[in-house]
């Protein structure tokens, strides 16, 4: 019963200064809402990164030329990756966990269609296996075939961004574009992958048969990457070691610590990118936490003002026999009510706000952040309210009554 009484006193106290109570609550509201929203944005961007990486294919491995981290080799002994390396990897007896191999050369060239000139993000020359390994799906038309590769036909599959840039609303399939002066026939348009995360747009690409691109642009000496698909996501580790041993053979290397190529799988890419976004999320969370703390200090501040302002009332209540615990309870309840109401509204604002896109990122609310922010706000109310409440409760009745 006395609890309800204290609650009624506290609500009365808050209602006496509605604007002040509302503004104090606003501080907590902003704190809680920003914690929820900023963590959701961080989480959303990390989810976007994860999405874009898994869209590359979870069981694909990328072999690229160059010394692995920490390996120091002179440039003279570095052998570039070649189509021969790719062929060696495709041997099922040497590498049983490898499903398919696609050597990739990349270059850049300006594409011209009619009077539109556009430079796509990259021009790739590869094998049809690339599409499956890189998780590229066709939207219109078809992939180029192994036959196209063998005959080095001048055909190309283009990404959706490139398609929009060059053809606008026209259907690109069957049209001819000029790529660095060489005419190519567009045979297919890829599905939009999305997930651009500030690096490169995976949809801004032109993919053509390997020999065609080598012939027209890069020459036949080396390839920039070999894309390898493992038989399943579970066998990527075995596939990785098979690649290493096969390529050590073809590159006549003996020291596994001194390699002139690098095998990276999507998992390691994923971890690297995830740690980046985690840092991002932590930073956002820290900023939000600071604003929550400021909201808490706002509570202390306003409760101190309230206590000072109501010193006389406290004196009267004490003269009427209010025990210390009741006075303490009343002011603590007031500050906790402020924080609970502020946090509740903050949760509502945070959840509503997370339905909107923030700087191109769809926020993904972390349920524990909602609970956590709410709990922390309530704890802050208790903690930051306890000092003023304690001050009120410890006032000597005679001093409180004499207070002007």
């Amino acid at each position: 019963m006395i609890f309800w009484q204290i609650l009624r006193f506290a609500i009365g106290g808050l209602a006496a200064n509605k604007v002040r109570s509302a503004l104090t609550m606003l501080g907590v509201l902003i704190g809680v809402a920003s914690v929820i929203l900023l963590l959701a944005v961080g989480n959303g961007s990390s989810a976007a990164v994860k999405n874009s990486i898994t869209s590359l294919g979870t069981n694909s491995l990328t072999v690229s030329s160059g010394a692995s981290f920490g390996g120091s080799r002179s440039a003279a002994t570095t052998k570039k990756l070649t189509v021969a390396d790719a062929k060696a990897l495709a041997d099922p007896s040497a590498a049983p966990d490898i499903k398919s191999v696609a050597p990739v050369v990349s270059t850049s060239a300006t594409a011209i269609y009619g009077d539109i000139s556009y430079t796509p993000g990259s021009v790739l020359g590869t094998y049809p296996a690339y599409f499956e390994t890189a998780n590229e799906k066709i939207a219109k038309g078809d992939y180029f075939s192994a036959d196209d590769v063998l005959n080095a036909r001048k055909v190309a599959v283009i990404g959706s961004t490139t398609a929009t840039q060059l053809f606008d609303t026209d259907d690109p399939v069957g049209k001819s574009i000029s790529l660095g002066g060489t005419p190519f026939t567009v045979v297919g348009v890829l599905q939009t992958k999305g997930g651009s995360t500030g690096f490169s747009d995976p949809d801004d690409v032109v993919i053509a048969p390997l020999p065609t691109v080598q012939n027209a642009f890069t020459g036949f000496s080396s390839v920039s990457q070999i894309l390898v698909q493992a038989t399943s996501a579970d066998t990527t580790t075995q596939a990785q070691s098979e690649i290493t041993s096969v390529l050590m053979g073809t590159h006549s290397l003996t020291d596994p610590t001194k390699l002139d190529f690098r095998v990276s799988n999507q998992a390691s890419l994923l971890t690297a990118r995830e740690s980046t976004t985690k840092t991002f999320t932590v930073l956002l969370g820290a900023v939000a936490a600071i604003s929550l703390l400021v909201g808490g200090i706002g509570i202390t501040n306003i409760m101190l003002v309230t206590v000072t302002e109501r010193t006389r009332e406290i004196g009267i209540r004490k003269a009427l026999g209010a025990p210390k615990a009741v006075i303490l309870g009343q002011f603590l309840t007031e500050s906790t009510l402020l924080s609970v109401l502020g946090a509740g509204l903050g949760v509502a604002v945070g959840l509503i706000g997370s339905h909107f896109k923030v700087v191109g990122i769809v926020p993904v609310v972390i349920p524990s952040s909602v609970l956590g922010a709410f709990a922390i706000a309530v704890a802050i109310g208790l903690f930051f309210g306890s000092y003023p409440a304690n001050r009120a409760a410890s006032l000597r009745p005679i001093d409180a009554l004499r207070h002007e």
């Binding site: 009267i316 009427l320 026999g321 209010a322 009554l401």
Partner: protein, 290 residues
């Protein structure tokens, strides 16, 4: 006419009791060699000192007994120590030295928690500046001490309404302090002071901020309460107010310089007694008592 003993529920009409108590009245307040000093060393000021001890020359302190059912007025100019005495009697302040027994309890040994209980159960305060809780209705004001005492809501309401009707304000139970006149505010404060049926009413210049009409009203209520057996200690500097008391103490420089009895401890206070006699005489004149 003389009612002894305290009624359990002061709000409701106190049950008349026959003279069963001891013939000598029990002191409700006993203070022995009480001093109160502010400051330290040479700067020490004794707000309450009593006569100087003939041997040591140090303040011997104020000693005083107040009987149950008495109506004591403490008079003195400002700085005479009367407010200090009142604060100590009300357990709002602690004496520097000496003993204070309220209703047989040695208040000096109580902790903060117990003191608040004593203030709640034993003492009803009436202040010069009314000291109502702002933005709170008259009924809630009067319920407040009962709420702190842990009385249940329905009972609280009943007793608060009874106390308000006793001071003639049952019509205004829903009004907030800023909607009441000064006299009405003070009457709410009186109702609040008596609702817990305290051992004593402590009034600090209760009429200091009131016009003469409201002063009469409030004093009449206090007279009536004393007539029903409630002990009243009243601080004032006005002779007209002191006239209502059965016993008048004068304080100068923290010492009691005179202690005059104006009426017996039992029975109604002098002003009320005179009114009653007048009414009775008038009744006899027109033949027969009511």
């Amino acid at each position: 006419m003389a009612r002894r003993g305290r009624a359990r529920h002061s709000g409701t009409a106190p049950t008349p009791e026959t003279e069963t108590g001891p013939a000598t009245p029990v002191p409700v307040i006993q203070i022995q060699r009480l001093t109160k000093a502010y400051g330290h060393g040479d700067a020490t000021v004794h707000a309450l000192r009593g006569p100087d001890d003939p041997e040591t020359g140090l303040p011997a302190g104020v000693s005083l007994d107040i009987d149950e059912g008495d109506f004591v007025a403490v008079m003195g100019s400002s700085g005479s120590g009367k407010s200090t005495l009142m604060n100590i009697l009300g357990c709002l302040d602690v004496p520097t030295a000496g003993r204070y027994l309220l209703d047989g309890i040695d208040v000096g040994h109580l902790d903060e928690q117990q003191l608040s209980l004593v203030r709640n159960r034993k003492i009803g305060f009436i202040f010069q500046s009314f000291n109502l809780v702002p933005r709170t209705s008259a009924l809630a004001q009067v319920e407040l001490p009962l709420a702190y005492a842990g009385v249940k809501a329905a009972e609280r309401r009943k007793r608060a309404l009874a106390a308000l009707s006793l001071v003639g304000l049952s019509e205004r139970s829903g009004h907030k302090p800023n909607e009441l006149s000064g006299g009405q505010q003070q009457r709410v404060a009186v109702a609040r002071a008596l609702v817990t049926a305290p051992a004593m009413l402590l009034a600090d210049e209760p009429t200091g901020n009131l016009d003469s009409h409201s002063t009469e009203e409030v004093l009449q209520i206090i007279d009536g309460l004393n007539a029903t057996g409630r002990t009243v200690v009243l601080i004032t500097h006005e002779d007209e107010v002191a006239m209502h008391a059965k016993r008048v103490l004068r304080l100068v420089d923290g010492k009691v310089i005179s202690d005059v009895r104006q009426g017996p401890v039992a029975g109604p206070p002098p002003v009320l007694a005179a009114q009653l006699r007048q009414r009775a005489a008038a009744g006899e004149l027109i033949g027969g008592r009511q």
